[in-house]
């Protein structure tokens, strides 16, 4: 399979190079919001939407920056775009689903500082993807994020029912779980040589 074909990019970002479990992007919500399934899934979907919007905008703004020869402003331009996209999602959610808006709380504006989103915009620029490739890359990254955070939330809900040594309560246990998940996802690395 060609390494720039759309299917390859999609499978690669969802499974083999999962943003959270293989590239360590977006760990804050992954550890912070994964306590319960019914907040983890909406958080994943909101993040995926922001990823899509900012990927498209980043693609356009990069064209402008390259044309004007001011690429050193890329970082500042991207972060401004992402902040506006998050603001958009926040206003939309507030209008259409106030309950969800309240349950996500502080983690919604914090999507701005989710490195998965800036990482996505930067990586698609470094890899010089064209428009359709960037779009598939963003969808793949979003689905990969939803997959990771949902699996993590499921595991943590199960763990609530079991007895644990008192030392392992808290962040250490979540990190160990993340390590196991990451180990599992490494099995997909073989897909890269299809």
């Amino acid at each position: 399979m060609q390494s720039d074909s759309l299917i390859f990019i999609f499978l690669n970002t969802v499974l083999a190079n999962n943003f959270v479990l293989a590239m360590f992007l977006g760990l804050c919500p992954f550890l912070g919001v994964s306590g319960k399934l019914n907040t983890a899934v909406p958080m994943g979907i909101a993040t995926m939407f922001v990823m899509l919007v900012s990927s498209v905008c980043a693609f356009a703004i990069n064209k402008v920056l390259v044309a004007l020869d001011i690429e050193f402003l890329r970082l500042i331009a991207y972060i401004a775009i992402i902040a506006s996209a998050v603001q958009l999602v926040e206003m939309g959610l507030k209008k259409y689903s106030p309950t969800l808006f309240r349950s996500l709380g502080i983690f919604l504006p914090l999507i701005t500082t989710n490195c998965a989103i800036l990482g996505l915009a930067l990586f698609q620029t470094f890899k010089e993807y064209n428009f359709s490739q960037s779009l598939v890359y963003a969808v793949g990254a979003g689905i990969g994020f939803i997959l990771a955070i949902t699996l993590m939330a499921g595991l943590r809900e199960k763990l609530l029912l079991s007895t644990l040594p008192s030392v392992t309560q808290g962040a250490a246990l979540s990190l160990m779980l993340g390590g196991l998940l990451s180990l599992t996802f490494m099995g997909f690395a073989g897909l890269g040589n299809l």
């Binding site: 914090l110 500082t113 490195c115 990190l175 180990l183």
Partner: protein, 219 residues
């Protein structure tokens, strides 16, 4: 404004806070993405720690200097732009000093922008304190961050390749534990460090409890 500012004197505590008591990685769990992503060798960890410290100190100084001129409503956006400026500077500096290092750190230098620790310190400390005090505090936080990165990077490089800073330590018989330099190793090593600190803390608390119990018995 003046009530918001805390004690203006620079104390040892304003430096040491970040080193241990409020260590950004081990205690506050902030800025996890670079912590796990670039710590597959001690050298990368050191470079990342120093770059982050530079951004932390420079943005802390500027934010603290400008805090009375920044309107409250747009403060977060302003902080982000200030941080992004310094990150762009350090990005080009590393590129100029060592291209090898730049390539091995990859996009993670630019991703310092979204390190929540830096924004967190700008909002929680620099905007409320005098410039010099913020600088001292940022230096402490940066040192604590670098220390934590070295703890992780050292262990992962040692177990994963049998070397430290590129020097072979165990000789040719050593079977490298490759998974440690791969992504799962990052999660597992940080988890193990946190377990260790939790265990030490619990042991100390139990000891204190035992001592106070003995005292009440004696009375």
């Amino acid at each position: 404004m003046s009530q918001r500012r805390s004690d203006p004197h620079i104390t040892w505590d304003s430096f040491s806070e970040g080193l241990w008591r409020n260590n950004p990685v081990f205690v506050m769990l902030l800025g996890m993405c670079p912590v796990l992503a670039v710590t597959n060798s001690a050298m990368n960890a050191l470079a990342m720690g120093l770059a982050t410290t530079f951004v932390l100190v420079a943005s802390g100084y500027l934010v603290s200097l400008l805090s009375r001129f920044i309107p409250r409503q747009v403060r977060i956006a302003t902080y982000i732009v200030i941080i992004a400026t310094f990150v762009t500077i350090i990005d080009y500096v590393i590129q100029a000093i060592s291209l090898d290092l730049y390539n091995s750190l990859g996009a993670f230098i630019q991703l310092i922008v979204v390190n929540c620790m830096i924004l967190g310190r700008a909002e929680a400390y620099a905007s409320k304190n005098r410039p010099m005090k913020s600088v001292v505090n940022a230096l402490g936080m940066g040192a604590g961050f670098t220390f934590a990165l070295l703890c992780l990077g050292g262990v992962r490089e040692l177990l994963g390749t049998g070397a430290l800073f590129g020097f072979d330590l165990f000789g040719p018989q050593f079977q490298p534990w490759v998974v440690m330099v791969l992504p799962p190793g990052g999660f597992l090593v940080l988890g193990a460090w946190l377990l260790l600190f939790d265990w030490l803390k619990q042991r100390r608390e139990q000891k204190q409890l035992a001592i106070s119990g003995e005292q009440t018995n004696a009375v």
